[in-house]
């Protein structure tokens, strides 16, 4: 019995790291741009399909991570200029509607091309066994890749000139512009990185679970719950929030049906918003 628990907790931690990665993307976009990205789930799903097709062409999805990340940045920057740039100073409702329509567009097109039947990446990387506990290799790698990407993001934000400019824009856009920072470029880049994180998280999840073009919605909800747990705008908070959610989710499904998970996630979301709207961990970029 204890083994089952330990097994669930380890699985929860590994999956939580991946959920955290997706949530960091959402959190970064909010923190820098003050945009609530309702297309996050659609891009997570797009990441899943990108990994699927890279795999079909013979590329290992883990080796494909840099490609998917780069693709995400390019796609995100393009979407920024098409759908967000002109309304970035408008009230938040405008950007909310705009990202929602991006989501409808991607999901509509995806449904047309791939229908909504489930896809799966048939990858085998073995598993790790310690005593009676067996952890799937795909989960282990997904967790490790998430940690590496999070560390790289931190190095970027705190050690590089462009990364510092991203933080400056998140704190005060006018002041950042007054430093000579081209804030339009920084906003576009931040959206690109946020989308890249969503797509990469999607790709990692696709190596573990089957998916459809609609799957992103589930993970978008998780991202929102995580951000609320960790405090919107704080990457490290998002990672910790991801761990908490991953563990809760994997432990409670030992006792209750999986179908109830979204209900519980919503309950956590509402409860945290009622008790401490700034997030349990608070914090800022």
């Amino acid at each position: 019995m204890l083994d089952v628990w330990i097994d669930s907790i380890i699985s929860g931690i590994l999956l939580g790291l991946v959920y955290g990665l997706a949530a960091i993307g959402l959190s970064l976009i909010w923190g820098v741009m003050k945009v609530i990205n309702l297309s996050h789930g659609a891009f997570i799903a797009l990441g899943m399909f990108t990994a699927y097709f890279l795999f079909a062409f013979g590329l290992n999805p883990y080796l494909g991570v840099p490609i998917i990340f780069a693709l995400g940045i390019i796609l995100g920057i393009a979407v920024y200029f098409v759908a967000l740039h002109r309304i970035i100073d408008a009230p938040e409702l405008s950007t909310l509607l705009s990202t929602f329509s991006i989501s409808l567009f991607i999901i509509g097109l995806g449904t047309f091309v791939w229908t909504t039947i489930p896809y799966a990446i048939d990858i085998h990387v073995g598993s790790i066994s310690i005593g009676n506990i067996t952890i799937l290799g795909t989960k282990v790698i997904a967790g490790i890749v998430s940690i590496i990407l999070t560390i790289l993001l931190y190095i970027f934000l705190y050690r590089t000139k462009t990364g510092k400019a991203v933080r400056a824009v998140s704190m005060n856009r006018v002041a950042a512009e007054l430093m000579g920072i081209n804030t339009t470029r920084i906003l576009a880049l931040s959206f690109g990185i946020g989308i890249a994180l969503a797509m990469t998280a999607g790709a990692l999840i696709a190596t573990i679970f089957p998916f459809t073009i609609l799957s992103g919605g589930v993970y978008e909800l998780k991202s929102f719950v995580i951000c609320v747990l960790g405090g919107l705008g704080s990457p490290i908070g998002a990672l910790v929030g991801g761990l908490i959610l991953g563990i809760i989710e994997n432990v409670i499904t030992l006792q209750i049906p999986t179908g109830l998970v979204p209900f519980i996630e919503f309950t956590i979301l509402v409860a945290v918003l009622l008790i401490k709207p700034s997030g349990l961990l608070g914090g800022e970029v």
Partner: protein, 236 residues
Amino acid sequence: MIVLETRDLECGYGEVKVLWGVSIKAKKGQLTTIIGSNGVGKTTLLRAIMGIIPVWNGDILFYGEEITKMPTHSRVEKGLVMVPEGRMVFPHMTVLENLEMGAYTKRAEEKKDEQLEFVFDLFPRLKERMHQKAGTLSGGEQQMLAIARGLMSCPEILILDEPSLGLSPKLTLEIFETVKKLKDEGLTMLLVEQNVHLSLAISDYAYVMAEGRIKMEGTGEELEKSEEIRKAYLGI
């Protein structure tokens, strides 16, 4: 030589016009001051000069070159630098990181070490608090940081929007002494202040603004002697 000039500048917010044709000049090596009560459009004028808000009519010239439609960051790249009202330091960055952000442009980055030494000399208190988060500084220290950060940008002209706002009389004097010191170093400055007496005393040239228009102009001395100014602003 004229560093900065506005010609019949008109602008505002939404439908509301705030500036009704403002013309000012700031000459090289001089301290030019704009005084005027609350809400007359001083900050709006500076925002237009920096390109933070669009100009409706009129021109802005920098060393004779028209920059009316240039994006803000490009103006900064050229050396047009503003220390905004309300300081706007980056609260979650350290003092040193804030200063580094000031040296963001290529032009400023080249002289970063030199400038850093200069501003730490000017504000030794900032050196002591180098690794402290800017948000934890006192109001006076944040103002010093905002000025120091502006200096890090290697300004051709430094624009200061009410640097003494909200500061104690003692700190206000300190800020004015710093401005005087920078003037003596030969820095070109455009100062916006409500502290009329202190500003006129150190200004080379001054403008009086009311209701979005320039109402009077002259050397600091001339304005200080003017009957109108004495009645309206100095309460003598």
